[in-house]
């Protein structure tokens, strides 16, 4: 606890503040919020507060009370999901959607760094029943109906962000398992809570979507077998403008090999961006790859998924709000023609 707070003192922008945990007893104390704001000092002594050192308080406020107000008034404060997962889960079970402002994270994450989160050794190691309990009732041993092969994830949303697309797709394909993959842990936590809340408030729905925190650029084959997926989504990925950072782009000629491996023949890869340069890059990567072929425009018009690309995600809505342009590239996994 001290370590975490100590680090918060050093990094004011990554403050991991958890009001509920630091003051469990005082939380329930009846104190009108308006009073809190009035009595609060305009500039809190962050270092002291962060190190948990009691400070002198005007009037009769308790130290922990000061903590509460400090974090409430700090505009960029975030809530650590790992520490108050219980309360958050309790909230989502009651069907209340998580609030995004508590899950603010940096917009970028380094995909090249060594990951320290757990990764399944192989696709067989990926526990579907944990992610989709509705489709894998306990005791069924992974087999949902009789002797049919166990259900597998068919759609992957790479870099799912806040999960808008998953939530949009879920009712369209209620029997298809979909997995979002996101590298930023706080965002992943948000999506997790969002899905749990949706499941709680709409029983029987949204059971087919889930999310994992992972680096899909490195570990995609650890999650999906050959030809397991029928759709992959890359919506508004990080543009990485600098040329030396192009290798961090999620669509690249070499990574397309792996996407082609995970997609079944006939499976579709959807990409969209609001950055023209990246749009050109993704289109040319896909165009040049012998294992992908463009999906004709008429087909796209009939595809219900295409409409969601720009409308379902948070990023897409932002672009639409600002009247921005989007660049779409939709390609199909084809069989390599023998020469």
């Amino acid at each position: 606890m001290l370590n975490r707070l100590g680090s918060a003192a050093i990094w004011p922008f990554f403050i991991v503040f958890d009001t509920n945990q630091t003051a469990p007893s005082q939380r329930r104390s009846p104190s009108p919020p308006s009073l809190v704001r009035v009595s609060f000092l305009p500039v809190p002594d962050r270092g002291r507060v962060a190190r948990g050192i009691p400070r002198e308080h005007p009037g009769n406020h308790s130290p922990s009370f000061a903590l509460t107000t400090a974090s409430q008034n700090r505009p960029r404060s975030t809530v650590a999901m790992s520490s108050n997962a219980d309360t958050a889960q309790a909230k989502s079970r009651s069907g209340r959607l998580p609030r995004k402002r508590f899950y603010r994270a940096r917009a970028h994450s380094n995909p090249l760094s060594d990951s320290h989160f757990p990764i399944p050794i192989s696709p067989a190691d990926f526990d579907c029943s944990h992610h989709y309990p509705y489709f894998f009732p306990p005791g069924s041993g992974g087999r949902s109906d009789g002797d049919a092969p166990p259900r597998k994830v068919r759609f992957a949303d790479i870099g799912c962000g806040f999960g808008g697309l998953l939530v949009g797709l879920s009712p369209l394909f209620p029997d298809t398992l979909m997995l979002g993959m996101e590298l930023r842990d706080k965002v992943t936590e948000y999506v997790k809570e969002r899905i749990l809340a949706l499941r709680a408030s709409n029983p029987g729905h949204y059971e087919n979507i889930s999310v994992v925190r992972t680096n899909s650029m490195k570990y995609l084959p650890n999650y999906f077998e050959k030809g397991q997926l029928s759709k992959m989504f890359f919506l508004f990925p990080d543009p990485h403008f600098k040329e030396k950072n192009h290798r961090r782009r999620v669509i690249s000629p070499q990574l397309l090999d792996e996407y082609a491996y995970a997609l079944e023949v006939g499976g579709i890869i959807y990409t969209i961006t609001d950055v023209e340069e990246l749009g050109d890059w993704m289109r040319s990567c896909l165009e040049d790859h012998p294992l992908f072929g463009a999906v004709p425009e008429e087909e796209l018009k009939l595809d219900p998924v295409v409409k969601l690309l720009s409308s379902a995600t948070e990023e897409g809505q932002k672009v639409a709000r600002n009247g921005g342009q989007t660049f779409r590239a939709v390609y199909r996994r084809i069989k390599l023609e023998e020469e």
């Binding site: 050093i10 050794i121 192989s122 650029m217 490195k218 790859h289």
Partner: protein, 455 residues
């Protein structure tokens, strides 16, 4: 003194916290420094028909021609040193006509073994970590530390004079992960590449590979640490053959590489320890090298801090992999590389390491041991055991040893060799093992990020 006393009285918390941070910071810096020391293990490679043996230690290539019973110095048109930094990978082609060496100086040198002349020298963008020659001798593949695998085409139209298009073409990539080994399947239909992210990727090697090897046949996933050795085996009677792999998790695994299915796992580290009964350990030592004969009857494994090699038995029909025998050598002999001559069935082993600190003029010591007498017929249990050849029984004798070992009497170099073995262990670990940081350390590292230092 007064000042410090004042600080303590003023705000003991801050001072103590600051001191703690300083301490860990110093520790961190020291640790980082240790990580900077890069030591490359000594490598050995033997001609498939045992016509010659090559040793690479540091930036030096030592060659002994067994046919002519003489040491050979390699020739290069450039006139400069052959390699200017540690050599990381050497290999002979399957037919013995070509030899490739590459390493940290970002040069891939292809040699014609008939004259030991450098056919071509291709410069890579990044440091090279692995090389392989296709079995038909038409292609040389090499991998760099960024995980990209490149291909050099060799044009063998006019008999022995190989003409080379000395431009390398990228054909596939592991996403920013050090590629540890590269291997062509015996029929050249697949290329296997392993990386430090526990993966083995089997890619279909197309007829026209310069357009890229795009079609992934399978991923062999099961290792729980970096993969350090790959070897194909094609016993008769099986369609596609098998793949052996050794890893930092102290296991050797048998794969049906066509489907990516893990068939058998042998915890060689644990088994070897048990057989030697040298006490228990929390973590088992990683596999440093692995080689096998093409029919899979001989599988030899070198394990870190095991003074000897482990021979495995593989039953392809039963899909089992078991330790057949641990061949122990003298104390303090920890092989860093293995090479098997398919023709004579002799196993060449070497111990040694590059040394950044030593002046480049000194000859780095290595130690070579040769193991012979692998029984081809495994059905006969009474078959003789493999024998470790004495120095005078080694093909080429004392002449070969004094040249390849870099010292006429290598027994005097025991201390240097032991130090080298330890350095290799640390260096390979730092390079390939995933670093685990505690929360504190992570915060410290964030503070010391390079992009934050530059204002």
């Amino acid at each position: 003194m007064e000042e410090s006393a004042e600080i303590v009285s003023d705000g003991g918390h801050e001072a103590a916290a600051a001191a703690a941070i300083m301490d860990t910071e110093n520790g961190l810096v020291e640790e980082e420094k240790n990580m900077d020391v890069k030591v490359a293990p000594a490598l050995i490679s033997v001609h498939p028909f045992e016509k010659s043996v090559v040793v690479a230690v540091g930036s030096e290539l030592r060659l002994f021609n067994l046919e002519g019973d003489c040491s050979v110095s390699l020739k290069d048109d450039s006139g400069g040193p052959l390699h200017s930094d540690a050599i990381r990978a050497i290999t002979f082609g399957a037919n013995g006509r070509l030899f490739v060496s590459a390493g940290d100086d970002k040069l891939v040198k292809i040699w014609a073994t008939s004259t030991w002349h450098c056919v071509c020298s291709v410069s890579a963008d990044k440091r090279v970590s692995a090389v392989a020659i296709s079995h038909n001798g038409k292609y040389v593949a090499f991998a760099d530390k960024f995980g990209v695998i490149w291909l050099i085409t060799l044009d063998e139209d006019d008999a022995n004079q190989s003409k080379v298009d000395d431009k390398a073409v990228p054909i596939l990539g592991h996403y920013c992960s050090i590629v540890t080994r590269l291997e062509f399947s015996p029929d050249d239909r697949f290329i296997a590449s392993s990386d430090r992210d526990f993966k083995i990727r089997i890619t279909a090697f197309p007829k026209r590979p310069l357009k890229g090897a795009l079609e992934i046949q399978s991923f062999c996933l099961g290792h729980k640490d970096y993969v350090s050795g790959l070897s194909f085996a094609c016993p008769s009677g099986y369609d596609h053959g098998f793949l052996f792999s050794g890893g930092g998790d102290s296991t050797v695994r048998l794969w049906d590489f066509f489907s990516g299915l893990l068939l058998a796992t042998c915890e060689v580290g644990a088994k070897a320890e048990l057989l030697q009964s040298t006490g228990t350990k929390d973590s088992y030592p990683p596999v440093t090298d692995l080689c096998s004969s093409s029919d899979g009857t001989i599988i030899a494994v070198a394990i870190q801090s095991l003074h000897g090699i482990v021979l495995l038995n593989c039953d392809f029909s039963d899909r089992t992999l078991s330790v057949a025998k641990v061949v122990t050598l003298e104390e303090n002999y920890f092989p860093t590389s293995l090479a098997l001559s398919t023709f004579t069935q002799r196993m060449w082993t070497i111990m040694g390491a590059s040394n950044d600190l030593a002046p480049s003029t000194t000859q780095l010591p290595t130690r070579i041991r040769v193991i012979s007498g692998f029984c081809k017929d495994r059905s006969n249990d009474n078959g003789h055991d493999p024998i470790v050849l004495e120095d005078n029984e080694v093909p080429g004798g004392q002449k070969l040893l004094s040249h390849l070992q870099g010292s006429p009497d290598v027994t005097k170099e025991d201390a240097a060799l032991a130090a080298a073995a330890e350095a290799v262990k640390v260096s390979m670990r730092n390079m390939l093992i995933k670093k685990e940081y505690t929360l504190d350390k992570r915060e410290l590292r964030k503070r010391n990020r390079n992009d934050r230092k530059l204002k």
